[in-house]
């Protein structure tokens, strides 16, 4: 192999992965095999397997993972099916609500449901006044409900894309062959959307397993692996780092298994439909129409409810942390006077992370798309790893590796930026490489034959063509970066606190007004970024996944 610019990029990429991914993850893997004194031991894994508390956490993780997944699959498929096959009034508005649910800041979902259905919740109180008593939302039921409404957009966006691509001729052919509508769905449509369905379900599952805020707030003793890892790590007294890493390993393995399983299940099911005959939307009438509209709007509304609640609560009058009757701007004033640096931190960290992501992601994306050989397909594989890493695990891994010389990064802003960077980098690489694969290499060759050096050809021809996609990708990375909670929660110190971390603390402290205002601010910032992204590449909700 000749040493040229791209060899350097490849070397740089491997270095980056080694330092920011393999090293921390490796140390987590190994860390689980040491006890607090630094002696090698299997005790941590033994505890994990035998101690009832961890057994329960393990089981609970599976329960919330699959429960959340099934909830999301149910709601998402209904939504996707109705919106892509029936004429629904205001369907753009409904899918906007799905986007709101997707980009709504973490925790706010759980908190809003508490506001409505908690021990003293609005809805619960209202129902009690008319004599209906329902249990408070805490525990498993609450977690599952929140997950279903928070993660259904993954399924909805994936499946509606696939349903929109099912060639109607296929269904017509099945019809002409005498299949009943039900057989048609089972034999034709279902296999065709299965890859999308399973991919969406997988996203919901992985996020549900990794989510730590919701069980923390709503669980009330319902422990999962993510909360256990965080508790062990953050305990003031007797913090047990090696046990926390052992749990992290279990979390990584779980996510990995499900990713591989999904790939295996949909391995044969890659269909490239030709879209000569696009599906048409049926106009329903009567009670069917009402039912479809009700289902779609109910799901959309419940998904967007956290956002709505926090927007309303952010404008409620408060005195200290206590709500007063009427409306006011005190919560926002508090942000202005006390939390300016938190907002600034969030913006600075996210913008720096995104800048790094764009620079590195574009270079690596070019490498993966254009210089295809064994080396780069390995790289492609390595980039799957951050994808399945729960944020809390990355956080714990970074703390345990970058804790002392030669790389003492704990407590710096850099460590937070890097943790966001590595988790989001795979998406940027994928965006760029997909965009590049759609640009014929002969364009660059044309420029070369016209007298431009390879590098200048890249700058003059390829960069302008992928720029809109890169900018849009950057905006979406920004949305995830600024909403990132779980790794920052492990990595922050007083100086480097970010908006999601502060929201979490505010909720724990009972200062709901300020939390709502901060969340609303976060949502507005995210909304602007999403809007900008859609401006650059057209409204394509699936790019949010």
């Amino acid at each position: 192999m000749r040493w040229n610019f791209w060899t350097l990029v490849a070397a740089f990429t491997w270095g980056l992965l080694l330092l920011l991914l393999f090293l921390p993850v490796g140390s987590v893997l190994l860390g689980g095999f040491y006890d607090a004194q630094g002696d090698a031991t299997f005790a941590n894994y033994q505890r994990l397997l035998t101690e009832p508390r961890f057994q329960r956490a393990f089981l609970n993780t599976l329960v919330v993972g699959f429960g959340g997944m099934f909830g999301a699959l149910l709601l998402g498929s209904i939504m996707a099916f109705c919106l892509s096959r029936f004429e629904i009034r205001g369907s753009r508005f409904v899918s906007l609500m799905a986007i709101l649910a997707l980009v709504s800041p973490p925790f706010i979902g759980a908190y809003s449901w508490i506001v409505l259905f908690g021990a003293n919740g609005l809805v619960r109180r209202g129902l009690r006044d008319v004599g209906v008593s329902i249990p408070p939302i805490y525990g498993l039921a609450g977690i599952l409900m929140v997950f279903a409404f928070k993660f259904y957009p993954y399924v909805y966006l994936m499946v509606s894309g696939a349903l929109g691509n099912v060639n109607r001729s296929l269904e017509e052919a099945a019809e002409s062959l005498g299949l009943t509508p039900w057989q048609r769905v089972r034999k034709i449509s279902f296999p065709l959307v299965f890859p999308a369905l399973s991919a969406g379900g997988l996203l919901a599952l992985i996020h549900a397993i990794a989510d730590f805020g919701t069980p923390q707030l709503l669980g009330r003793g319902y422990n999962v692996l993510a909360t256990e890892a965080y508790t062990l790590y953050s305990a003031e007294v007797g913090s047990n780092m090696s046990m926390a890493t052992a749990i992290s390993v279990a979390l990584i393995l779980l996510s990995m298994i499900f990713v591989l399983l999904q790939r295996y299940l949909s391995r044969r099911n890659v269909y490239h439909g030709n879209l000569i005959n696009k599906p048409v939307k049926i106009r329903l009438s009567g009670w069917r129409n009402a039912l479809a509209h009700a289902a779609v709007y109910l799901i959309g509304f419940c998904g967007a409810l956290p956002v709505i609640i926090s927007a309303i609560y952010s404008f409620r009058k408060t005195r200290g942390p206590v709500f007063q009757p009427g409306f006011g701007l005190q919560s926002y004033e508090r942000i202005l006077y006390n939390l300016g640096d938190v907002v600034r931190n969030s913006l600075v960290f996210s913008v720096s992370a995104v800048a790094l992501i764009v620079a590195a992601g574009t270079l690596i994306g070019v490498l993966v798309a254009r210089r295809t050989n064994l080396n780069t397909s390995l790289l492609d594989g390595a980039f799957m790893i951050p994808y399945v890493m729960p944020g809390i695990v990355i956080g714990i891994a970074y703390v345990s590796v970058f804790n002392g010389p030669p790389l003492a990064l704990t407590g710096t802003a850099l460590i937070i930026v890097l943790s966001i960077f590595i988790r989001r980098l795979p998406y940027a690489v994928r965006t760029t490489s997909t965009a590049l694969r759609q640009i014929s290499p002969s364009l660059e060759e044309a420029a070369i034959s016209l007298g431009y050096s390879p590098f200048r050809s890249f700058l003059k021809v390829t960069v302008p063509l992928i720029l809109p996609g890169v900018i849009a990708g950057a905006m979406l990375s920004f949305v995830t970066a600024i909403n990132e909670l779980s790794s920052s929660l492990v990595l922050y110190v007083g100086r480097t606190i970010t908006m999601p971390v502060r929201i979490y603390q505010l909720i724990l402290d009972g200062d709901f007004g300020t939390a709502a205002a901060l969340s609303s601010l976060l949502l507005v910032i995210s909304g602007i970024a999403v809007y900008a992204a859609f401006r650059f590449m057209g409204r394509d909700e699936r790019s949010l996944l």
Binding site: S442, L443, I448, S449, L450, S457, L465
Partner: protein, 355 residues
């Protein structure tokens, strides 16, 4: 020494030889075509000339200069691509002007030269448009204008017409041919369409599996193929397997070729004789008897498939008009002119006929 010399060019990909000892030369102003089936190495050779992939070994000299030592962007070679490779973010004008910028041409001259190039490909009126919405033919015209405006030392075209519909293909290939003569440039053109190759080339190089089969003028390639591959790839062949019937016909014609394992004759050289008239066979022709199996009418020609003692034979009738029609089962006779017979040896090389 010729203008362009390729000497014993060899290209190996991992475990696969795409070019084996390819040598050829092209003169100034010549239209030279590489013709061959898919995968025979045409693109590989062309890209080696352009510099996009280097040869494993061999020499390329252009105007006496060793081309392999020059990086692709300094070679001054114009290239036209199969997928047009028109820059979608630039207007037609800017696409064509693109190659003049690194050459530091003054703005006024750029305008003049681009205008002239666009006129040559008849796109003058579309200069300010973006190419995205243009037809394939128009996009390829942009590609051609962009390649010639830099006044390259060599013009390479890799199947530039294969994505266009049949009618446009004929139209544009004539334009390309005229343009090449007008600007008097050495051009290398790749195609796997034999008719296209015959129509526009000064010389054709037929390639097969990384090797050159034959280089020659269109007449030589079609009328005097040197290998069985060339004869079959360019035009069609009736294959005559050795048989007693063939032996007797050959001896009637006084032809011998001891090493021949295959005899062949082109369908358009067979002459169908009216079945009734007992025309006396001259010694310049062998007459075979048979039955019509199938009649295919194609408008400007028709094909008649006969079952004969020599095996199945297809005869081509030019200008069949309204009357010619052959019913299956009908008896028929065909004459094979003596000079229409070709013989090939076991290795596929043409065998000289004796007698």
């Amino acid at each position: 020494m010729a203008y362009l010399d390729v000497v014993r060019a060899r290209k190996e990909f991992a475990g696969f030889t795409a070019l084996q000892d390819v040598s050829l030369n092209v003169e100034r102003g010549e239209f030279f075509t590489l013709l061959g089936p898919s995968g025979c190495g045409k693109t590989t050779l062309l890209r080696a000339l352009a510099g996009f992939n280097d040869l494993t070994s061999g020499e390329i000299r252009l105007d006496g200069e060793d081309l392999r030592r020059i990086p692709p962007h300094k070679r001054d070679i114009g290239m036209v691509f199969q997928d047009y490779a028109v820059f979608p973010h630039l207007s037609v004008f800017d696409n064509v002007a693109f190659g003049l910028k690194p050459r530091k041409v003054a703005p006024a001259e750029i305008r003049a030269r681009v205008g002239e190039a666009l006129e040559k490909v008849r796109l003058g009126h579309l200069a300010e448009r973006l190419p995205a919405a243009m037809s394939g033919g128009q996009q390829q015209r942009i590609g051609i204008a962009r390649a010639i405006v830099i006044r390259p030392r060599l013009l390479l075209m890799d199947e530039p017409l294969s994505n266009l519909d049949a009618k446009l293909r004929v139209e544009l290939r004539e334009e390309i041919r005229a343009l090449q003569k007008q600007i008097d440039i050495a051009a290398i053109y790749v195609t796997h369409d034999q008719e296209e190759a015959l129509a526009i080339s000064d010389r054709i190089c037929v390639m097969n599996a990384g090797r050159i089969e034959q280089i020659g003028t269109p007449q030589e390639i079609y009328g005097d193929p040197q290998t069985r591959f060339v004869a079959e790839f360019v035009g069609t062949l009736n294959r005559l397997e050795p048989s007693p019937a063939l032996e007797s016909d050959l001896s009637h014609l006084g032809l011998k070729a001891p090493r021949a394992t295959l005899w062949a004759v082109r369908p358009e050289r067979l002459r169908l004789l009216p079945p009734q008239e007992a025309e006396e066979a001259s010694e310049k022709e062998a007459v075979v008897l048979g039955r019509v199996e199938q009649f295919t009418y194609l408008g400007r020609e028709a094909h008649v498939r006969l079952a004969t003692d020599l095996g199945p034979l297809v005869a081509q009738i030019a200008d069949p008009g309204l009357i010619a029609a052959f019913a299956p089962g009908e008896a028929a006779r065909a004459a094979i002119p003596r000079d229409a017979l070709m013989a090939f040896d076991a290795a596929g090389a043409r065998v000289k006929l004796e007698g």
